[in-house]
C-alpha cells in the first residue's frame, strides 16, 4: 500500500511536470502581452517591466526559473494586481472557494444520492419520475442560468436569501446550490441506475431470504455497492466543482479562486495563470489519488497494490 502510494506520488510529480511544461509553453505561445493597453508603453518602461518580471530572459531560462519556483511553491508577484503575490491570491481566494466547493459537493452528494435512491426504490412510480425530471433539469440547465434563476426567485421575488456576496451562511446557500445542481443531477442518475443494477443482483435476493426488511437491505447491501460508480465520479466531480465555480463566483460576487482561473488568462497574468494551474492540478491529482484509495476501502475487491497473481 505504502509502496503503491509512493509510486502514485511519483507519477503525480511527473504529471505535474507535464502540466507545468505544457501550460507554460502554451501560455507563452498565445499572442498578447500582460502589459498591452490602448496606449503603447514607452519601450524603456516595457523593457523595465519585462526585466522586473524576468520576461526578458530566454524562454527556456524562464521555464527553468519557473520550475524552480514551483518546487519552492512560490509563484511570485501577480502581473495584474500590484503588490499582491500569487501565493496571497491563492491563500485568500482558496478558503472561500474551498468552503463553497465543499458545500456544493456535500449538497450534490447528499441530494443526489437521496434522489437517486428514492428513484430506484420507487422504480417506475411517480417518485421515480419526479426525481428524474429534477435530474434532467439539473443536467440540461447550465449552472449560470440555474444561478440567475435561483437568484431571481429566492432572492428577488421572495427575498428569503441574499442576492450576492460572501458574508454569512445564508449567502452561501444560493451559490452552493447553483454549483451543485449539475453534479447533483449526475449523481442522482448514477445512483439510480447503479441501485437498480444492484437491486437486481442475487445477493439482494439472498439478503431478502435472510428475512431482512427493505431498509436493512437498502442500507447494508444496496447503497454501499451502488456507491461505487458515485465514488469513481468524485474525481470528475471535484474538477467540475473547481472549474464550475468561476461562473458561480462571478455571478454571486464571491472572492474565490475560480475567478482568477479565467481572468488571469484574459489578463495574460502569467504568474497567476501558472500558479493557479499548478495549484488546481495538485489539488486534482491528490484528490484523484484519495478517491482511488477511498474506492479500495469501499470495494475490497480492488487492491491498490499492483502485485500480480492473486
Amino acid at each position: 500500500m505504502l509502496k503503491y502510494i509512493g509510486k502514485r506520488l511519483l507519477y503525480m510529480v511527473l504529471t505535474l511536470w507535464v502540466i507545468v511544461t505544457v501550460t507554460f509553453f502554451l501560455m507563452r505561445a498565445a499572442p498578447g502581452s500582460p502589459f498591452s493597453g490602448e496606449k503603447e508603453l514607452p519601450p524603456a518602461i516595457q523593457a523595465n517591466l519585462e526585466a522586473y518580471y524576468g520576461l526578458d530572459k530566454s524562454l527556456f531560462m524562464q521555464y527553468v526559473d519557473y520550475l524552480i519556483s514551483v518546487v519552492k511553491w512560490d509563484f511570485g508577484p501577480s502581473l495584474k494586481y500590484k503588490g499582491q503575490s500569487v501565493n496571497d491570491l491563492i491563500s485568500e481566494g482558496f478558503p472561500v472557494s474551498f468552503a463553497l466547493g465543499m458545500e456544493a459537493i456535500f449538497l450534490a452528494l447528499a441530494l443526489g444520492v437521496l434522489l437517486g435512491a428514492v428513484a430506484a426504490l420507487r422504480h417506475n412510480k411517480w417518485q421515480d419520475y419526479t426525481a428524474m425530471i429534477i435530474a434532467v433539469l439539473g443536467i440540461s440547465v447550465p449552472s449560470f442560468i440555474m444561478a440567475s434563476g435561483l437568484q431571481y426567485v429566492l432572492a428577488i421575488k421572495w427575498s428569503v436569501l441574499p442576492v450576492a456576496r460572501w458574508e454569512s451562511f445564508a449567502h452561501t446557500i444560493l451559490p452552493a446550490l447553483a454549483l451543485a445542481s449539475t453534479p447533483m443531477a449526475f449523481i442522482a442518475r448514477l445512483t439510480r441506475s447503479s441501485m437498480l443494477e444492484v437491486i437486481g443482483n442475487d445477493y439482494i435476493k439472498t439478503a431478502k431470504s435472510k428475512g431482512l426488511n427493505s431498509t436493512e437491505i437498502t442500507v447494508r447491501h444496496t447503497i454501499r455497492n451502488a456507491m461505487m460508480p458515485v465514488v469513481s465520479y468524485m474525481g470528475p466531480l471535484i474538477s467540475a466543482i473547481l472549474t464550475g465555480s468561476f461562473v458561480i463566483e462571478k455571478i454571486f460576487g464571491i472572492p474565490g479562486l475560480g475567478m482568477h482561473f479565467v481572468t488571469s488568462i484574459t489578463n495574460r497574468d502569467y504568474s497567476v495563470i501558472m500558479g493557479v494551474t499548478v495549484f488546481f492540478s495538485v489539488l486534482l491529482l491528490v484528490s484523484i489519488l484519495l478517491v482511488d484509495i477511498a474506492y479500495s476501502l469501499i470495494d475490497p475487491r480492488i487492491k491498490l497494490a499492483d502485485k500480480k497473481g492473486e
Binding site: N48, G83, Q151, V163, M227, L289
Partner: protein, 556 residues
C-alpha cells in the same frame, strides 16, 4: 504560507473522501461556517437600512489594479483614489479645477512654470502634514523607470519627465522641486493650458514620502501604512471582495464630508449588481463604478429611474490608412458615411449614447453634437465609394480587396460590428468579414498594424480636446491608423503655446476639421454614463470625464 496552502489542498481532498464515504458530512459545513463567521463580524451591520445612515454602497466590479496613485492605470482604481486622495487641484462641482491641496497657484507668463503653495492645514490621514516633498517624491517615483509605472507618461508634461522615464535623462533634472515644505515649483516642457486639469488626475497625487520610503509595499493593504490625504481613508480592503472607506478626520475640508462610510463591493456581474441594487444592497448601480446590463436599460428607462449623462469618450473605428483600400480618403469616407449612427444608439447600445460625427466629445466641444457630417448619408457615401474606386483603379466594388472588420471579443462590440456589416452591405454593396480576438491579442494586432478596420474607444484622461486629438499627432506610437498630417500636427503644436483660450479652441477645432476631412477614424458614438441610484442620494459630483467624487455626497 506555503505549508498552509499544502495543508489546505490535503484537507480539501481529505474531506472529500470523508464525504464520499458518507461518514462525515459536516466537514463541508464546518469550512463554510468558519468563513462566514469571519466575514460576518466585519460587516455585520450590513443589513440595516442605509438612507438615513449616510452609508454609500456601490459595486466597483473588480479588484483595482493598484491603490497607489503612482501605479494606478484603470477606472476601478480611479473610482477609489478620487475619494481617498487629493491632488493640488480638484475638479469642482461646476466642472472646473479648483484649489485643493494647493491654496495658491501662480503661473508664469510663458505658462511654463507653476508655483503651488500647499495648504497649511493639509494633512495625511495619520496626522502627518502634506508637504511639497510628498508631491515631488510621488511624481519622481512614478517616473523612475525602476518602478514600472504604466501611467508615468501622464507626467510627461513636466520638464525632462519623459527623458527621465525612458532612461535617457536623470530623475534630478525633472522639473518638479519642493522649494520648502509648503512650496512646490513645477517647470513644464511646453506651455500646457490644461495643466491644472492634470493636477487633479491621480498620477499627479502626492504620496506620504515618509511612509513610502520606509515601507515599499505600503499600498498593498489597508492598515496603518496606507495613508491618504483626501476626504476619505481606506479602513478595510478585502482583496477581490470589498473596500471600505471612512471619513478622514485629518482632511482640511472635513466639514464638507457628509458620508459616514463608503462600501465598495467587487461583483463582476452586472445583473447581480442591478439585482442587489433593487434589493437595497447598493445605492448605485451602473457607471462609472459598475455597469448596467444592456437588456435591463429599456425597462429602467421606462420606469424613469435611469440617469444618463454624456461623458468624455468616443467609440470609433480606426482605418489602417496604409493598406488598400483604406489608403484612399474617399473609401474611408464612404465607409464612415454609410453607418447609421442613430440606429446603433437607439437599437443596440440603448443607454442614451450620442451619435458621433466628430472626434472630440461634446462635453469638450459643445457644438460637436452636430459634428462635421451627417449621421448617415448614403448618397454621399456612394459618391465617395465610386470616386475612391476610380482613384484606386478598380473596375467595380467587387474588384476591391476583401475587407475585414476587427474588434475585441465582447457581445456589445459584436452586435455593433454586425449591424455595421449589414449597413455596409446594404448601403455600399460591400461584403465585409468580421474578426474578433480577445483584448490582449487584439490590442497587439492593432499596434502592429495587423488590421484594416478596427474598433477602439477613447475615454478622456483629462478635460481637454487635446487628449483626443494628440492620439493622431504622430505617425507611430498609439496612432494605429498610420495617418499623418503636417498641418494637423503643427496646429496642435501651436495650440500649446496659445494663451488665449478662445483662439486655442479655434485651432483645435481646425485640427479636428482636418481629422474629420481625412477620416483616418470613423466616429460611431459618444459614451454616456448610465446608472440608477437611491433617490435620496444627493450631491454626487460627476465630472465631464465621467468620474465621480463622493466628497460632498449625502443622503437626505
Amino acid at each position: 504560507m506555503k505549508k498552509k496552502l499544502l495543508l489546505f489542498s490535503i484537507l480539501l481532498v481529505f474531506s472529500v473522501i470523508l464525504a464520499a464515504c458518507g461518514g462525515d458530512d459536516d466537514s463541508g459545513e464546518e469550512g463554510t461556517s468558519d468563513n462566514s463567521g469571519d466575514n460576518g463580524e466585519s460587516t455585520s451591520d450590513n443589513g440595516g437600512e442605509s438612507s438615513a445612515e449616510q452609508v454609500f454602497k456601490a459595486n466597483i466590479a473588480s479588484e483595482p489594479f493598484s491603490l497607489n496613485p503612482s501605479l494606478a492605470n484603470d477606472a476601478t482604481s480611479s473610482a477609489v483614489l478620487l475619494q481617498t486622495f487629493e491632488g493640488l487641484t480638484r475638479i469642482g462641482p461646476e466642472g472646473e479645477p479648483q484649489e485643493a491641496m494647493a491654496s495658491e497657484i501662480e503661473t508664469s507668463d510663458d505658462l511654463k512654470k507653476y508655483t503651488f503653495t500647499i495648504r497649511e492645514d493639509a494633512k495625511w490621514s495619520n496626522g502627518d502634514p502634506v508637504t511639497a516633498q510628498d508631491f515631488e517624491y510621488a511624481w519622481k517615483w512614478a517616473l523612475d523607470p525602476n518602478n514600472n509605472s504604466q501611467y508615468a507618461y501622464q507626467l510627461y508634461y513636466v520638464k525632462n519627465a519623459e527623458a527621465a522615464n525612458t532612461g535617457e535623462g536623470n530623475l534630478e533634472d525633472v522639473g518638479v522641486t519642493a522649494v520648502d515644505e509648503q512650496t512646490l515649483e513645477v517647470e513644464l516642457e511646453n506651455p500646457t493650458p490644461y495643466f491644472l486639469e492634470l493636477t487633479a488626475f491621480y498620477t499627479y497625487f502626492p504620496v506620504n514620502s515618509k511612509i513610502a520610503k520606509e515601507n515599499e509595499e505600503w499600498y498593498a493593504d489597508a492598515g496603518e501604512n496606507y495613508v491618504s490625504n483626501g476626504p476619505f481613508k481606506m479602513t478595510e480592503w478585502s482583496h477581490n471582495d470589498s473596500i471600505t472607506l471612512e471619513p478622514n478626520e485629518e482632511y482640511w475640508d472635513k466639514d464638507a464630508v457628509k458620508l459616514d462610510r463608503i462600501e465598495f463591493a467587487m461583483i463582476n456581474d452586472f445583473n447581480t449588481e442591478l439585482n442587489s441594487f433593487k434589493q437595497g444592497e447598493f445605492d448605485w448601480a451602473g457607471s462609472p463604478f459598475g455597469s448596467l446590463p444592456t437588456e435591463a436599460i429599456p425597462s429602467l428607462k421606462e420606469d424613469g429611474s435611469l440617469n444618463v449623462e454624456p461623458i468624455a469618450g468616443t467609440y470609433w473605428y480606426k482605418f489602417h490608412t496604409e493598406k488598400e483600400p483604406f489608403n484612399n480618403v474617399n473609401i474611408r469616407k464612404a465607409f464612415a458615411y454609410a453607418i447609421d449612427r442613430q440606429g446603433i444608439v437607439e437599437n443596440i447600445t440603448k443607454a442614451g449614447q450620442v451619435p458621433a460625427m466628430a472626434a472630440v466629445p461634446p462635453t469638450m466641444f459643445s457644438d460637436n453634437e452636430e459634428g462635421y457630417f451627417d449621421a448617415v448619408n448614403i448618397e454621399k457615401a456612394k459618391e465617395h465609394l465610386q470616386k475612391g474606386i476610380e482613384e484606386l483603379g478598380y473596375d467595380s466594388v467587387e474588384d476591391m480587396p476583401a475587407v475585414t472588420l476587427s474588434y475585441n471579443t465582447s457581445e456589445s462590440h459584436a452586435k455593433i460590428a454586425q449591424a455595421i456589416q449589414d449597413m455596409w452591405k446594404e448601403n455600399l454593396g460591400v461584403e465585409v468579414e468580421l474578426s474578433n480576438a480577445e483584448w490582449a491579442v487584439y490590442i497587439d494586432q492593432l499596434h502592429q498594424g495587423d488590421y484594416q478596420i478596427g474598433r477602439m474607444g477613447w475615454l478622456g484622461d483629462f478635460n481637454d480636446p487635446i487628449n483626443f486629438l494628440e492620439l493622431y499627432k504622430e505617425k507611430g506610437g498609439n496612432n494605429d491608423t498610420r495617418w499623418h498630417s503636417e498641418e494637423f500636427a503643427s496646429l496642435l503644436e501651436e495650440s500649446q503655446t496659445e494663451t488665449d483660450s478662445e483662439k486655442r479652441t479655434e485651432m483645435l477645432k481646425e485640427a479636428e476639421g482636418i481629422l474629420m476631412d481625412e477620416m483616418p477614424i470613423a466616429p460611431i458614438y459618444f459614451y454616456t454614463n448610465a446608472w440608477v441610484q437611491d433617490e435620496n442620494l444627493k450631491d454626487v459630483v460627476m465630472s465631464g470625464l465621467g468620474d465621480v467624487q463622493l466628497k460632498w455626497a449625502h443622503f437626505e
